[in-house]
């Protein structure tokens, strides 16, 4: 009786699954995403350069400019301007020197901005994330960006800060481990263990400036981190690209149409 009940139950379940399956149709869909920024007024884009902090193992200014240019060439309708990557530290230094010559400005801004001597010293060492903020006044210099825009036929200008630094964290991590029982059957079990891990943190802030007016149009900030086992010797540049790879879709989504591919279930 029990066997018969089980069999009938299984058949019933099978029929139910078949009935359900006959009413389900999995379809691939592409969800279109509008760009976050209206760039219809621009024909060209200039990746100007970035104020960078953190490790010196990677030239984050050059690498970021190079990577974004190559991505925009393939993913955006905008013409990417090939020009030298600007050393924004020097620009900030000049601006600070100019503001030092103006005493009334100096008195109010000295507390927040490093002076030229401090800038020289800071070029030697690496800047912390907080120290980077002291240079952000450069992005509000409308006349500088407008002039740069005029030199390049009023493009959309992309600039900002990039902070890339080594990072270390210790703690319990869960890993999967293969084990074989007495009958030789393979099993994968989660194992928790204390581990020292090292990696990197990437924290860029992208600023989009209208090259016609010098005004900031849009700002986007990200923070990504990656950790590896201490035994793993991952080069800084590899980690940098790994982390940039994660945030590139969102960066590109600011300028160009993107789509997310997935599947959905149509029902009868």
């Amino acid at each position: 009786m029990t066997g018969l009940t089980k069999t009938l139950g299984s058949v019933g379940l099978l029929l139910f699954v078949c009935a359900c399956t006959n009413n389900l149709y999995e379809v691939p869909i592409e969800t279109p995403l509008q760009p976050k920024l209206d760039v219809s007024a621009f024909q060209r884009v200039l990746i100007a350069g970035f104020v960078t902090g953190g490790t010196n193992d990677v030239d984050a200014n050059l690498e970021t400019a190079r990577l974004l240019r190559s991505q925009l060439r393939t993913e955006s309708r905008l013409d990417v301007i090939d020009s030298e990557v600007i050393d924004l530290f020097t620009v900030a230094e000049d601006e600070s020197a100019a503001s030092r010559d103006a005493p009334e400005v100096e008195s109010t801004e000295k507390t927040t901005r490093p002076n030229a001597d401090e800038l020289d010293q800071e070029e030697e060492k690496t800047l912390s994330e907080e120290e980077l903020e002291a240079y952000e006044h450069i992005f509000a210099n409308v006349s500088y960006w407008r002039q740069l825009g005029e030199e390049h036929q009023s493009p959309l200008i992309v600039t900002g800060t990039v902070y890339f630094t080594p990072h270390q964290r210790s703690g319990m991590v869960t890993r999967e481990r293969e084990i074989y029982d007495d009958f030789g059957r393979r099993q994968v079990v989660p194992i928790r263990a204390y581990r020292d891990r090292r990696g990197y943190v990437l924290s860029p802030k992208f600023i989009f400036i209208d090259g016609r007016t010098g005004v900031t149009l849009y700002t986007e900030r990200y923070r990504e981190e990656v950790l590896y086992d201490v035994s793993q010797n991952t080069p800084a540049l590899s980690s940098y690209f790994e982390l940039m790879d994660r945030l590139l879709p969102s960066f590109l989504g600011a300028l160009s149409d993107q789509s997310i591919r997935g599947t959905r279930m149509l029902l009868k």
Partner: protein, 117 residues
């Protein structure tokens, strides 16, 4: 005698209502099925039209609202997609397939809202 007539009339009205409902569901189902076949061929606008017809004919047809939600999502019409999915879930709150489609949609929609904010 009078009460017998009333009972008979009520029964007749009820059976007519059931017939009308069955006809509506049948018509709506035909639209939904055709919509599915054209969506599978990539003709999403035609599919959208068919599923819109289906919910016009039978507004209580959860599957049609679900499919309409998918079609709107595919067209980038997020507000309409949200309304269609929510309507489908209101009608069939325990339908796991509708819930799964809705959750996947919300994941994208919430991210967009976050970016906009």
């Amino acid at each position: 005698m009078m009460s017998v007539r009333i009972v008979l009339a009520a029964g007749l009205i009820a059976s007519l209502a059931v017939t009308v409902y069955a006809d509506e569901r049948s018509d709506a189902k035909a639209q939904v099925e055709f919509g599915i076949s054209v969506a599978q061929a990539g003709l999403w606008q035609e599919a959208t039209y068919r599923w819109e017809r289906a919910v016009d004919i039978d507004p209580s047809y959860a599957a049609a609202w679900n499919n309409l939600g998918i079609a709107y999502e595919h067209e980038g019409l997020f507000k309409k997609a949200l309304e269609a999915y929510e309507k489908a879930l209101d009608l069939e709150p325990r339908n796991l397939m509708i819930q799964e489609n809705y959750d996947l949609f919300r994941e994208i929609n919430d991210r967009l809202d976050q970016d906009a904010g």
